[in-house]
Structures are given as C-alpha cells and as structure tokens.
C-alpha cells in the first residue's frame, strides 16, 4: 500500500514554495538568518540539559529494572528507604537553579525581540493579513506586494502587523520571529536579516480554510538589488500583450487561484474560462453577465464584461456581485492595492482563456 503512496512531492498550487531551508550545524533548527542568536543558544543549552537529565533518569530506571528485577514471586525489595533528605534537597535545588538560569536568559532574549530599536522603527513595513493572503507595504515606496516581500540584508526592519478579519500569526522560522496578528490592533515585530536568500513566511495561527496556504516568500537581497531603480517588487513586464498575460498568469497563481479556476471548474468564485470571447477578427468581447448592482440599490442587471467591470471587481468586489448561485453568497477578498496596470495584466491573461467563437 505504501509503495503507492510514496511519490515525489508535486507542485502545490499557489506561490512557489521551493526554497529548501538549510539546516544549522547541529541539525535541529533551520539555519539562523537574523541576529537573534540567543534563541539558538538557549535552545541548545536547554536541549543539552534535557538530554543529560533524560539519560540520568532513564539510565537509573533501566539499571534498576535489570538489577532488581523480581525473580521469584515472594522476593522482597532490597531496601525499604523512603527518605533521603540530602538527596531530596539536591534534586529540588539543582533543577531550580538550572531553570532560573533558563528563565533569565529567555526573558532577556524575549525583551530583545519585543523592544523595537529606533533603527528598525525607521524602516517600518506594514504587513496586512487577510484570509488567506499577506499584503506588504514598503517604507518610502508606493507599490505594495502580495505574498512576497523584499528586505535589505543587514538592515534592521520593523513590521507593523494588522489583520482585517480573524487571528493570524506572522512567522519567519529562519529569523526566529513570530507574532500573532490580531484584528482591531497593531502588533509589531523587528529583526535584522543577516543572510541573503529566500525564506518561508508562514501563518502560524489557525485562520480557517486555507490557513496552510497562507504563505509568503521573503527575499533578503543585497543593498544594490534592493535599491535598483526598478525595485524588485515593482517589476511588471507588460511591454507586449503576451508578456503582460504571462505576468498576469503569475499573479493569478499567487492571489486568485484559491477561488477562481481557469478551466471551467466552479470554485468559490466563477471560473475565468469564457469571461471573454474571441472574435473571428482576433478582437475580444466580454460575455454577458447578470449582476446585482449594489452601487445602484441592489438592482439586477445584465452587463457586458469589460475592463472597467473587472477592475471594479478586484478593487471593490461587493459593488457588482455575480447573480448566480453560489457565487452571489460568497465573498471575494478585495485587492484595493492592486494597481490598474497589474489588473490589465490579469485581463490579458483572462483573454488567453477565451472561448473562440
């Protein structure tokens, strides 16, 4: 049965989650990529203490079991001692001292992680969590990015965290950083990325259906790349319709794939296949769509799908709702930060899915 199950991992839908995270020298933790080395220090210290006590306890236990094992039913114990005050004091006091060391070490580390230094607060990003996407806003740059974020290596950074629906948690294992994202209040974390590379950002607090797919990739890049005139998160190739469609397809697989299919299968939202119809002369016409127009008192209307409708659907999904079960009951995530240029890329991609007349 298992032979059947053992297969190579197939590509997961959504953003590419390829970066295999390197493992540190002791083989337990992901290789550290921030300055919070006290986490690893205390982890391995505690680990060593645990192994010591485990070997001690299990060693004594197994030794006794072998040595004092009952051979005949009426065998009496070799000793009936029930007290040994020095021993009891020792095994109370020594663990107490050890855990107090761990406590102090851990507390100082946690303070370091909680109190945001000035330098980091001057480099503040905003990370907005929404079922099941991350949106990142950069300091001193207007373009936002979704489910991917770029950081400059060696530069302390603060993230202001906000959620517009339920609890999430911002978790960067390689940086040893985690903070719950709580609706109705801001939280913050800071760290200094030390190694160029790509890292996982997970949502660590259960947030519903696609909790496990609420993933972002963190790119830590060198200063030159970060400050290049075309910022790494602001690259959008749309010089030809084909390239625009390609960029759009890419974005689709990051943001829209969870709810929209491209092959006609119904999802949370309607499939994009057939949204446009290709005419004989190579131009495209939008299909007819029955919608509930909430900007016009919830009237039922039939419209022709066009660029304006799609842009509105992305920025303000509630404005016109598809009047079809079950879509009319389902809510779409709004993407108000997705600029028009990118939506046009998506539209180019939708057109590649057109039915031919």
């Amino acid at each position: 049965m298992f032979a059947l199950l053992i297969q190579d991992p197939v590509n997961i839908n959504g953003p590419d989650r390829s970066p295999q995270q390197a493992v540190d020298a002791y083989g337990q933790l992901t290789k550290l990529a921030s300055t919070f080395s006290h986490v690893d220090g205390l982890f391995y210290f505690t680990y060593a203490v645990c192994i010591f006590f485990f070997v001690l306890i299990v060693g004594v236990l197994l030794f006794s079991v072998v040595k004092y094992r009952r051979k005949t039913w009426d065998q009496l114990p070799a000793s009936n001692t029930t007290h040994n005050t020095p021993l009891e004091v020792v095994w109370t006091v020594i663990p107490l001292i050890i855990v107090m060391i761990m406590f102090a070490w851990g507390y100082m580390g946690a303070r370091d992680m909680t109190v945001v230094p000035l330098e980091a607060s001057r480099n503040t990003y905003k990370a907005s969590a929404k079922q099941w996407n991350w949106t990142f806003h950069y300091p001193n740059h207007p373009v936002a990015s979704y489910n991917e974020v770029w950081l400059e290596v060696g530069k302390p950074v603060q993230f202001l965290l906000e959620s517009s629906d339920v609890l999430h948690a911002f978790y960067l294992p390689a940086m040893r950083v985690k903070r719950d994202v709580i609706p109705g209040r801001y939280q913050s974390v800071w760290f200094t990325p030390t190694t160029v590379g790509e890292y996982h950002l997970f949502c660590a607090e259960y947030c519903g259906k696609d909790h496990s797919k609420m993933y972002a990739k963190v790119h830590v890049v060198d200063t030159a790349t970060f400050n290049a005139p075309q910022r790494p998160w602001d690259q959008w190739e749309d010089s030809t319709p084909e390239l625009a469609a390609k960029s759009g397809a890419n974005l689709y697989s990051q943001l829209c794939i969870a709810c929209h299919s491209v092959n006609g299968t119904p999802g949370v939202g309607p499939s994009w296949k057939g949204l446009f119809i290709k005419n004989a002369d190579g131009t495209y016409t939008g299909r007819q769509r029955e919608v509930i127009d909430n900007t016009d008192g919830g009237k039922r209307k039939t419209i022709t799908v066009d660029d304006a409708y799609i842009i509105e659907s992305v920025h303000l999904p509630e404005a016109k709702k598809v009047a079809e079960e079950p879509y009319v009951r389902n809510a779409m995530t709004a993407f108000p930060d997705l600029d028009e240029r990118k939506v046009r890329g998506l539209i180019e991609y939708m057109k590649t899915l057109a039915d031919t007349k």
């Binding site: 839908n13 295999q20 992901t30 505690t46 851990g106 609890l167 294992p173 109705g184 259906k209």
Partner: protein, 551 residues
Amino acid sequence: MTTNVPVIDSHAAPVAGRKNFLNCSSGFLSWAGTLDHKRIGIMYLVGVSLAFLAGGLFALLVRLHLWKPDGMLFDNVQYNQIFTLHGAFMVFIFVIPAIPGSLGNMVLPLMLGAKDVALPRLNLLSFYLWLAGALMATLAIVLGGFDTGWTFYAPYSLYTDQAVVTIGLAVFVLGFSSIFTGLNFIVTVHKLRAPGLTWFRMPLFVWAIYATAILQVLATPVLGITVLLVAFERLYHIGIFDPRLGGDPVLFEHFFWFYSHPAVYIMVLPAFGIVSELVSVHSRKPLFGYKLIAFSSLAIAIISFLVWGHHMFTSGQSTYALFAFSFLTFFVAIPTAIKEFSWVATIWKGSIALNAPMLYTLAFLIIFAIGGLTGVILGALNVDIHLHDTYFVVAHFHYVMMGSIALAFFAGLHHWWPKMFGVMYNETLAKIACGIIFVGFNTTFIPQFIMGSRGMPRRYATYVPDYMGFHQASTIGAMVLGAGVALMVFYLVASLFQGKKAMQNQWGGVTLDWLTPTPPPLENFDEAPVVTTEVYDYSTLDYKAMQTPVA
C-alpha cells in the same frame, strides 16, 4: 495497610458463585439506573474507550492525509474539521473524564474503605451529562461539523458558518459532568474515609484524584462561561470577543487558557496518581517521598492557576506579563521533576515485577520524562516565540496527553482489570502490545519535534515540501501505534470471554482495594474495614504464603 478484617485469604482464587457487583443483578435497567460507583465506572470505561477509538481514528485520518505535501484524502475544509474533531473528542470526551470517571469511580471508594461515593445520584447524573455532551458533539458532526480547533479561538469561531453553537453547548454540558464528578470526590474523600485512614495514610491515587477534583470545581466554570459567551455572541451579536463589535479576541484567549491550563493538570494529575500507585505495588516498596508527592500535587494544582499566559507568549502581552508567566511556568517544573525523581527512587532497589501494568508504567516514566523536559524548552520565553504553534508544541503535548496520560490510563486499566472483572488478560499479548505502542508512539512524535523546531506550523492541511520526510515517518509511526492499540483492545475484550480467573490479590497490593473480594461485592466490603497500619506497608503481607499468580 492492613485492616482488622483479614476475612479473605488475600491471594486465593475467588470463590465461585459468590455474588459480586457484576452478577448481583442483571438487565438493562440494573445498569442504566445503577447507583453503584463500580458499575458507573464501567459505563464510563466503555464510553471513554469508544471516544478514544473515535479520536484515534480521526488522528489516523489526519496522519494519512499529511503523507503528501498537498494532502492525500481531504480538501482543506474537511481536514480542518477532522483535526478539530480529533482534538475535541480526545480532550473533552476522552482525556478529561477518562481516569476520574472510570478508574477513579471504580477505585476511589474501594481505597477509602467506603461503600460508595458520597453522592451516588450525582455520580449517575455526571455520567449522563457526559453521555449527553458526547452525543451533542456527535450531533455537531451530523450538523455539518465544526472547524475551529478545540481551542475555539475568537473571532474565527464567531464567523465560521459551522456548528459551533452545538459543540459549544456540548462542551458546556461536559464541563458540568466534570464539575459534579469533582464535587463528589471531594466530599467522598472528606467524609467517607474508613476509621483509621488518616490523610497521610491515603494512597497517592486518592491524593491525586482529590487535587484534580479541586481543579475541576474551580476551573471548569470559567470554560463553561466562555463557551456560553461565544454562543451568545454568535446568536445575538453581543460584542465581547469580536473586535468589529468592540470586543477583544485576546480576552477570549485569557479566558480559555485560564481554564485550559489547569485542565492540563486535571488531565495529568490522575495519571500521576496511577503511576505512584503502580510503581509502589509492583516494586513492593513504600513510595519514596510520599508526603512530598502528595504536597507536590497540591502545589501543582495551585500554581497551575497562575501560568495560563504561557500559551500566549506571542500574543503581544507586556514584557511584565511575559516575565511573570514564564517565571511561574518554570516553577511548576520543580514539583513535577520531584515526582519523576521520586518514582525512579521508589523503583531503585525494589522488587520489580515486569508484568504488563509495570511495563506500561515504565513506558510512562520514559515518555513523561521527554514530555516534561520538552516543556522546559517551551517555558523559555525567547525559544517559545520560535516554537509556539509549531509541531514542536504538538509533539510536546502529545508526549504528555497521549504518551503519558493515556499510557498511565492503560497501566491503571491493566492493574485494576482483574479487580474489576475478576479475569486476567493474556499477559504475553499485553507485553507485546505495550512494546508496539511504545515504539509506534515515539516514531510518531519524535519527527514532529524535529520538524517543529525547523518551523513546521501546526494545523496545516498542506505544507511546504521541506517537511515531507518527517511527516511520512510520523504517519508510519501512527499506523504502528494504531496497531498496538488495536491489539490491546482485542486481548482486553477477549479476556472478558475466555480470560483466566484472576487471583484475589493479583499483584500483592496492600491498599484497601486489594483487600476486598475480587470482583468486589455490591457494597465493596463484607465487613467495614478499619485501618491500623501505615500506607504501603508491604511487610504486612506474607508473600511466601501466597501462591504465584497466574498468567
């Protein structure tokens, strides 16, 4: 401890044809309406065992699904429902009531030399509340399931369109079952100890159940109120936890863990009690540091009310709160460590019987060492920030909940099985099953420690391919564990039909539960016992005169 009534040859085979609590009456109503603590204990035993098997089935489904990074069996919604069912069934319907409800009910009055618990009708009511809660939880599955995790964190639990109110009410009802059981046991311990059975002559299982009962009575109401508030907020939109209505989701976490941390000890203290008992009987030695163990149970019970914040180290508490909660958390480690050391010291130079109950106990001692020590790793603030909500935590609490509590429950079950039913199971099979369970358990959860420390978050229906090897190892372990449990269920059930008759005092124990006939008569003792010796005084039994036990 002996009594002034050595009416029975303490190690003879039971007299055939004697009336005992099992055969003194028959028919459905004689069970369904019984006030006898032993019959109620057996009904609990059947019930919690079924809940355990259901929860275990959900666990196997979870593990199978996670064989591949994008999941094998379910879509995400179904997966979320199944891990929630696993958690809710295991915690609320199995672990919390398991030991007090079944073994506690069975053994506590026997150990005290009482005819029954103090409030037999309340005891039956507790059982029916448990049953009602379990049925409501099952109804919630029929109504479409629930996907909030067993923690019901707001505001997700307020928005999700699933049967949260039903399961919330189930938890509420189960809470009352637990409160009533606790109340009953407190009164019983205070009022029904046999003459001469002073507090410090009580077996440690009684102490543990007593400490648990205090926690049940004091902590459970908070859970009840919290789930009611969630239900009200869902139904009437009162803003308590929902930030859109001016509520505070972190408040929910505080309420929830104010109960659920002590609940960890509601679950684990009875397990400690069983282990204390078994370590002594099967080493034939008085417990090392008896008073220290008794007091450490009470110390744990009290401190456990003050550490709930360690479940919320990443929720943005002030550094002062972090300081206090982490400090107190490390403090709980000490009485817990003392217990483990005392058990090992009891075994040291004992007369150690390697029978089935003792093997389960030894497995407990090894697994609990890991469970406890990894808890220390999590208590460190900065390390916990990294490990919180990862599989490291999952593995840690399974080492405590499943590896320790369930194994202690199995140990106790094997220990008192001959007392309850008057038959012995096949001990060879029992030892094999114990080995399979031990190996399967560790294979399941050691990989989870590693992937957790590398950042694998919990409650994930799909995962990045980095972790696939660990998940597959864990799944294989779970299958082995499942096979071990299946074998155990098989030989235990089989023993009821074809088990050899058990001895009067199968293991050579000296607490009162071993000094009544096997199985006990309806009112437990033929003559009211009087205790005249200290607890765990094995010199009072003449082992030479007893025949070697069967099986």
